[in-house]
């Protein structure tokens, strides 16, 4: 048993190190000067140009604005989706109403229509609304999805009916019940969904690429594109890697900080 657990640790540590190496390498490059980056053999130790590279990356693409846009998009998409799906799941579970089946199926079908399968047409709808290059266009079309609704529906159904009946006897209306009882009970699910959706909103590429055309409205993952050295340009990979580090830090930090809910979210949203 001792030997096998030693082997286990060796394997896991090796996996962790191999996974971390590219990130370490990228970080090291982001601290080097242009000369160091382009010299062979590659240098694998951090150097002294960190501040300069990050400042360069920051000013060249307007990183402050890009990160702000990404934060707005990620938060709006995550919170918007949570609120919208929480409400619709509440209606579906706790009310009987004409057309309930239709509503349920309409929501279900959106599972089969992600952005990549309706590229041109979704853009045209947004452009008819005059939402191209706006925060509305960046966020609202991503706010409806079936996964959130199903997650909350699943969870509400595990809550005993007696709870709602008791609330009713005490004179609480449906909204009061939702706000004072259901919402506090759902915090773990909300947190789980939040991590997944925040990461999704921050990292989404295709949609912001389509609906924005000014650098001021770009999100960070797209906005740093001009820093990636192409063949004919000066190979300033140090600046490119500095930008990459700044863009990847927020979603990675959210995952690490909210790890418990992240795992829960991964499992629940894919069910």
């Amino acid at each position: 048993m001792d030997r096998s657990s030693a082997i286990t640790h060796v394997i896991l540590v090796a996996a962790v190190v191999v996974l971390a190496f590219p990130l370490y390498y990228a970080f090291v490059i982001s601290t080097q000067s242009l000369d160091e980056v382009t010299s062979l053999p590659p240098k694998l130790a951090p150097s002294t140009h960190l501040v300069q590279n990050y400042a360069d990356a920051w000013s060249r693409v307007g990183m402050g604005r890009l990160l702000l846009n990404s934060a707005i998009v990620a938060l709006a998409v995550a919170l918007g989706k949570i609120v919208i799906s929480l409400l619709s799941a509440f209606a579906i579970v706790y009310f009987d109403f004409r057309g309930k089946r239709l509503v349920f199926w309409m929501i279900f079908v959106t599972l089969m229509l992600p952005v990549p399968v309706r590229i041109v047409s979704t853009y045209q709808v947004v452009s008819v609304l005059g939402w191209v290059d706006t925060y509305w266009g960046l966020t609202v079309p991503l706010m409806a999805s079936a996964t959130g609704t199903f997650l909350f529906r699943q969870y509400y159904r595990t809550i005993p009916d007696s709870l709602a009946e008791a609330a009713q006897l005490d004179g609480a209306g449906p909204l009061r019940f939702l706000w004072s009882i259901l919402l506090p009970l759902s915090t773990a699910n909300i947190a789980a969904l939040f991590v997944i959706l925040f990461v999704y909103g921050w990292n989404d590429y295709l949609w912001p690429l389509m609906v924005t055309n000014s650098q001021e409205m770009r999100t960070a993952v797209i906005g740093i594109d001009s820093l990636i050295p192409r063949t004919s340009q000066l190979p300033e990979w140090n600046v490119a890697m500095a930008a990459a580090m700044m863009v990847l830090l927020p979603p990675v930090a959210v995952i690490v900080a909210m790890q418990r809910w992240f795992v829960k979210g991964l499992i629940e949203t894919e069910k």
């Binding site: 082997i7 971390a20 382009t38 609120v83 047409s121 609704t149 009713q168 449906p174 894919e270």
Partner: protein, 293 residues
């Protein structure tokens, strides 16, 4: 089905209204519009649409480049998924012991999930850089072959496969580890006593018991590789060299936004839509029948 508890003539409609509104405006309308657009072609000046019936579809199905793109997409997704899962499963079963510190390992494995595919691509782009990257440098001691992804399609494909697998690998491994911890040690011990070797034990016990995890990870990785690697392709290879890394989603975007061939792009969207619908149907059938949760 739960008994409905609350009664109200209008409240339920108000509660579902935001979701239904967004669904209709941004999902159904565009989906139907894709169906309609796929039957048209833009006039030479782009000012009006000309009805051409199934013209876009016959053009697509007669275009060898489109079939190359289909093959690239399927091959790419399968390689990313199968390679990623196989290595994760192998490591996980080798590492299968009651271990302390699993939570710490989980944190150290899960963080790459937060990295955008495009950013992962940029990092690996430099690792693979023909002149300055560490990988071609190391390989230059072994072989004279030029691993230049600017010129060689298969190197470019390898680059994006590795970047995609890297991003997914940690949580594949984390899920397999969690799944393995749930298999009772007594089952494996009993098999061992009965004389089953490690390979036999793996295929007779571990693999079947892990089938729900595998199924879950398979769908997740396939969907990821098929749809969410757009950013990776766009930021790193732009479909090239030639069309070596031009997956279906990238093609549909390029024809629509770069080439402004709206009808042609919409036809590709329609085919993608059919594919997703078929996959979802298979997933639900399979999930209900074969996999025991």
């Amino acid at each position: 089905m739960r008994r409905a508890v609350f009664r109200n003539p209008w409240l339920p409609y108000a509660l579902v209204a935001p979701q239904i509104a967004i669904t209709i405006v941004f999902f159904f309308w565009p989906a139907f519009d894709s169906l309609r657009l796929s039957l048209y072609r833009a006039s030479p000046f782009g000012d009006r649409l000309i009805f051409i019936g199934g013209g876009n579809f016959t053009r697509l199905l007669g275009d060898p480049a489109y079939f190359r793109s289909v093959a690239t997409s399927l091959g790419f997704s399968l390689v990313v998924t199968v390679a990623g899962l196989a290595v994760a499963l192998l490591l996980a079963s080798l590492a299968n012991a009651r271990i302390r510190g699993l939570a710490v390992y989980r944190t150290l494995l899960l963080w790459p999930y937060g990295i955008a595919p495009a950013v992962a691509g940029v990092i690996w782009l430099f690792v693979f850089h023909p002149s300055f990257g560490v990988l071609p440098y190391l390989l230059s001691f072994v072989t004279d072959y030029q691993f230049n992804w600017f010129l060689k399609g298969w190197v470019a494909l390898t680059l994006i496969v590795i970047a995609a697998v890297w991003k997914q690998f940690g949580y594949n491994l984390a899920f397999y580890l969690a799944g393995l911890q749930a298999i009772p040690g007594s089952v494996l011990e009993a098999a061992s006593v009965d004389g089953a070797g490690p390979v036999r034990r793996f295929f007779a016990i571990t693999f079947p018991l892990l089938s729900p995890v595998t199924f879950f990870l398979f769908t997740l990785n396939m969907t990821f590789a098929f749809f969410e690697t757009f950013g990776l392709i766009h930021a790193v290879t732009q479909g090239g060299p030639g069309d070596a890394t031009s997956i279906l989603v990238y093609r549909a975007w390029k024809d629509g936004f770069d080439g402004l061939q709206l009808g042609y792009s919409a036809a590709q969207s329609v085919i993608l839509m059919l594919l997703v619908i078929a996959l979802t149907a298979v997933q639900f059938r399979y999930a209900e029948k074969k996999v025991t949760y």
